[in-house]
Symmetry: C2
Subunit: 209 residues, 2 copies
DNA sequence: ACGCTACTGGACCGGCGGTCCAGTTGTCGA
DNA sequence: TCGACAACTGGACCGCCGGTCCAGTAGCGT
């Protein structure tokens, strides 16, 4: 998926140092509390290095997210059932949801750190007696790769079992769970099993055996 | 609920001007694109006035949210069925979800603007060779009043019909829907009925007649 | 009409995300 | 082994933003 992209030895060292420092900070603080300067300091590098490697705050979070999601990704596409191919869709979906809840629980702040969407450019200033010139409008922001992948997987499994449902929307609803602050708080308190059971109840209500 | 809190005439005028300007900007730009200075300029007041009235960005968004949620609130507590008391819980829940989806669809960026949670204080800077002194840790942030109200309403209705479910968690899951960027994008495209139908499917799967 | 006081608004502050570029250091061909 | 070039580094710097401050202003009670 990602090409090797030869990096210099020190670049590789600093890259991993930054990633490790970031996740260490994420376990202790809310994402909005963490500045790029803090990350750089904690990793023992300069701020310029962080931006040179990851481009932006969003890029850093995305890279970390992808790293964490890699195992699950390969388990789905190439692993054994019930996560991998072979089990009935309903079972695969339940297994996948359990795995995702677990992944998110172990990486508390990460989802909240980037939201499901890409970054944004700022809007122009307009005074009260405004000109009525061309309106820049907001365009929908694109979801990050991991979200897209998860959404595609869920909606596909749902569709295989129930063509009469709105699989696309249902997948969004199920994933929305993982971006809710109260739920992330619950996960941090160790209530992952409660969330897992609730999602299972919801899914089994729709996809009976 | 809110005491009258006598305000001077110009204060009232500016208060509403700020609220109107804010919601006007919210319909056109993503919340993160809007600065407090822009809001002040669009309302034709100084930045100090905005902060004097609302305290902070979060306070402004919360006030706007409460204003918008007021009608629904009174419809639930004092209005006729199916929103108000009198209908069976299952019917009331479905009616409530429809109403909330409609409310959010008509106030696109507002939910995203505050998230379900209160603001946050920033973390200290720590160098790589860090001291291992007292850890400030992140504490869970409290949800805003409207979220609390909605969550309480939903979980209560669920509990009335199914004591065996985790009504608390289920209510969080259902509400999480409204904080998801992809779903908010869908609402903006006019897909409110799709979301409504999906939520109905989920709920009817759990709460059969 | 007058004075008290709440309100106003723009200058100001600390800090943040992101840029820049001069200096440094791995890497690789000869 | 060594030189030179490109990639990497990091800290100074920039523009902007949320929030504060306070001198000036203007509603409101008397």
């Amino acid at each position: 998926m990602t090409e090797p992209e030869r990096l210099r030895a020190d670049a590789v060292r600093n890259r991993t140092a930054i990633l490790r420092a970031t996740e260490e900070l994420l376990t202790r603080y809310h994402p909005q509390q963490i500045s790029m300067e803090q990350i750089a300091a904690a990793a023992g590098v300069g701020k310029g290095t962080v931006f040179h490697r990851f481009g932006s705050r969003y890029g850093l979070m995305r890279a970390l997210m992808q790293e964490r999601a890699q195992d699950l990704e390969s388990a789905i596409t190439a692993g054994p059932p019930p996560l991998g191919q072979g089990a009935p869709p309903r079972v695969r979906l339940l297994a996948f949801l359990t795995a995702v809840v677990d992944l998110v629980a172990r990486n508390k702040g990460l989802l909240a750190a980037l939201g499901p969407a890409a970054p944004v450019t700022t809007a122009p200033v307009t005074t009260a007696s405004a000109s009525v010139t061309t309106v820049p409008e907001q365009e929908p922001r694109e979801a990050h790769p991991v979200y897209k992948s998860w959404h595609g997987h869920i909606s596909q499994l749902v569709y295989q079992q129930r063509q009469d449902l709105d699989a696309d929307m249902l997948a969004h609803v199920l994933l929305a769970t993982l971006h809710s602050e109260p739920i992330l708080n619950a996960l941090q308190r160790g209530d992952g099993n409660r969330l897992d059971r609730t999602l299972r109840d919801l899914v089994t209500g729709l996809l009976p055996e």
